[in-house]
Symmetry: C2
Subunit: 80 residues, 2 copies
Amino acid sequence: MKAMIKVTLKNGVLDPQGKAIMGSLNSLGFEGYDNVRQGKYFELDIDADNKAAAQAKVKDMCEKLLANTVIENYEIEIAG
Amino acid sequence: MKAMIKVTLKNGVLDPQGKAIMGSLNSLGFEGYDNVRQGKYFELDIDADNKAAAQAKVKDMCEKLLANTVIENYEIEIAG
């Protein structure tokens, strides 16, 4: 099975990378956008008996390594 | 409207960050996973008349700034 994980900063946590991207988009002449936030994205293949088991395993990986749960949220999607 | 963008390395491009994460997962005792790849994730609010216009605008942002199309793919999702 394939797991896709999005890790994003929690609301209220400052995002200097996002601000820098907004500055660059502005320099390039883009308009009509706001609230740019940068996060991380992971993909991995996982062996598990079923989707629930895969989800639980990946949740454990997120809690222990992939996300800093003090300032970040994570979202897991398991595909076929 | 809200745009969500995933930027991932193309197949065949080496991913040292992914390899490092695999090493760390291994040290933590995880098993049964493979092919860890790290990418980037962006969220932004965008003003546009319709989803197609928003998609076109964000595609332009990806081509010019958010993704390095020589080595990266991007995937855009427009919500609400």
